[in-house]
């Protein structure tokens, strides 16, 4: 574990240099510990924390506290952070249409990997993924790990506009783009479920530590789901199949 400087108002506690569920557990344990201390009023001046694959960044107000004061206050947590923060346990089974215009890179991905398109879909939808972190865009989940047979680097030229809902893979990870944005990942399908809604109590559907499975649906089914979501007949929570005890704490 080491502490990295991130200016005069933040520092990053780094646990390692790999994408690894054990490192994520250490990150979450520290995150939960800081949240507890904050709730007890023990960390004045801490603005927020940002958990990532292998590190936690602490944002603070240098007018109220300082790096040395905080590192001293967090020392007991560092000692304990080797232990797991517990499995969040939420499992989402999200629908994905892997067909037609929703899957612009499916054929090329299959060619590059030397497998059939059906095999790509079967492999992608056949695994359970861990949400390592959210970032880059509001609600954008970095999920892993992809089966070894699906590992590809990013596209050499990023697209200028990736449509929202695009389900994509790159560098051993998979993700869903919540917003129209530039992006260099390979687009395999489209998910109709809204990942981010500022009007919801938890604006991001997914939280770090959640698990996700993708369920292939037809184009017709995709359109039916989209309509039901729009009309309010189905809530996004519909696709939540397992609820963890620590959910409220971790996704606060």
């Amino acid at each position: 574990m080491c502490v990295l400087d991130a200016g005069d108002a933040a520092f990053t506690v780094e646990f390692g240099d790999a994408i690894d569920p054990d490192l994520l557990a250490a990150v979450n344990a520290l995150d939960v510990g800081i949240a507890r201390l904050q709730a007890e009023g023990g960390l004045p001046g801490v603005i927020e924390t940002m958990p990532t694959f292998r590190s936690l960044t602490v944002f603070f107000d240098p007018l109220q506290t300082g790096r040395e004061i905080l590192l001293e206050a967090l020392r007991p947590l560092f000692a304990a952070s080797g232990h797991s923060g517990g499995d969040n346990g939420r499992l989402w089974q999200l629908p994905v249409c892997y067909e037609g215009i929703f899957a612009p890179d499916l054929a090329e991905t299959a060619r590059s990997l030397g497998v059939s398109e059906d095999e790509v879909v079967a492999l992608h939808s056949g695994s359970e993924y861990l949400v390592y972190m959210l970032g880059f865009l509001p609600g954008f989940p970095f999920m892993g790990d992809l089966p070894k047979a699906l590992r590809l680097p990013r596209r050499p030229e990023p697209r200028l506009r990736v449509p929202p809902g695009s389900v994509a893979i790159a560098t051993g990870l998979t993700a869903i783009y919540p917003w129209k944005s530039p992006g260099g990942w390979h687009l395999l399908g489209r998910c109709p479920v809204t990942l981010f809604d500022a009007g919801r109590e938890s604006p991001s559907l997914l939280a770090a530590g959640d698990h996700v499975r993708f369920v292939p649906v037809s184009m017709a089914e995709y359109e039916r789901i989209e309509r039901s979501l729009k009309s309010g007949d189905i809530e996004p929570q519909h696709w939540l199949t397992r609820r963890g005890a620590e959910q409220a704490e971790v996704s606060r």
Partner: protein, 351 residues
């Protein structure tokens, strides 16, 4: 609020958006803070119109912002080195920045151009907009805050309160600071050699045309990496200086993505982010290194300077004699600075 007074955007200029101190607490789900690029300008502009310091303001770039008072007289103020003009009944008059002014129904206020820098904050008395995730700041990428989640466009009206109380002035605006931009090395300091740090601190970097609320791309001597030019994505902060493979640094600002996969050579300290964000395309800048502790000390010093500026704001006396001020002043011991802006005739302010 059923207010008869409003302010219409006649032209947003280069880019104008509603911003306050920003959105805190949602970086963990990928939501950047957004918020004003220069909090001091926001606090001064708000103080000039009598708003709370962190009330939303209209932040704009370069010249070109034009606003029109509608329905009633409204109180506005521009903080920033802006050259302003008021149009009343077809007649145009220059107006100095750093003071509040009452726009009658139908009056237009224009930012003709910026003297130095490129950012100005326009405060409007009683500007109230709904908060989204705790802030009225516009973050257009995810359609959060502002007016309908978008930057301001011609024809948009924002609600105000009818003007009340005295107009105010900041007698001595902050001086232009041309020192190097101060940075703290890291978080990926170990991805760069000592020679690269020498290059980084010893060279001029030019601001490219790609400079907006997300960040500023710089051009200059190449900053080489010791290893690969990527890391496992980790958190970015406002002020993070990313170095992608081509070795040209990018400084991230308020609207930047919350995580990134390029190594970060250093972080601009909070006190100097406003100066960096105010650099115009084509302008060159230099960096200087400070420790994190020194950065914290500078933050406290900057805050003390801001508080002194806010404390200096006083009622503006347009013409005639302000008897209250006259009787409350110590006429024997007092010294009047006849060159202060409040003693200049209104029409002499155009530079």
């Amino acid at each position: 609020m059923n207010s008869p007074a409003s302010l219409e955007i006649v032209s947003p200029g280069a880019y104008a958006s509603v911003q306050d101190i920003g959105r805190r607490g949602f970086r963990r789900i990928g939501v950047p803070w957004a918020g004003v690029l220069d909090p001091r300008l926001m606090r001064i502009a708000n103080a000039l119109v009598g708003n709370p310091g962190t009330a939303p303001v209209i932040e704009c770039f370069d010249g070109g912002l034009q606003v029109l008072a509608r329905g009633a007289a409204v109180r506005v103020a521009v903080a920033g080195d802006a050259v302003l003009e008021i149009e009343h009944d077809g007649e145009r008059k220059p107006l100095p920045a750093w003071r509040s002014v009452t726009l009658a129904d139908g009056d237009i206020l224009r930012i003709r151009r910026m003297g130095s820098g490129r950012i100005a904050a326009l405060a409007l008395e009683g500007l109230a907009l709904p908060q989204v995730l705790g802030s009225a700041s516009t973050y257009a990428r995810a359609a959060l805050g502002g007016v309908d989640g978008r930057a301001l466009a011609a024809g948009v009206c924002v609600p105000a309160q009818p003007a009340s109380g005295a107009e105010r002035i900041l007698p001595e605006p902050p001086e232009v600071d041309e020192r190097p931009i101060r940075v703290v090395f890291g978080p990926q300091a170990d991805h760069f050699s000592a020679e690269t740090f020498d290059t980084f601190l010893g060279s001029d970097y030019r601001v490219t045309a790609e400079a907006d609320r997300m960040g500023v791309r710089l051009e200059g001597p190449v900053l080489g990496h010791l290893g690969p030019a990527e890391i496992i994505s980790d958190a970015t902060v406002p002020g993070s200086i990313q170095v992608p493979g081509k070795g040209q640094p990018i400084v991230l600002l308020a609207d930047a993505q919350t995580a990134g996969g390029y190594p970060k050579i250093a972080t601009v300290i909070g006190s100097d982010i406003p100066r960096l964000a105010a650099c115009r395309p084509g302008q060159t800048l230099r960096f200087a290194a400070v420790s994190a502790a020194e950065g914290e000390r500078i933050a406290r010093e900057t805050e003390a300077e801001t508080l002194a500026l806010l404390a200096a704001i006083r009622p503006f006396v347009a013409e005639g004699v302000d008897l209250t001020a006259l009787y409350s002043a110590n006429l024997v011991g007092g010294v009047v600075n006849a060159r202060s802006p409040e003693y200049r005739p209104l029409t002499a302010g155009d530079d």
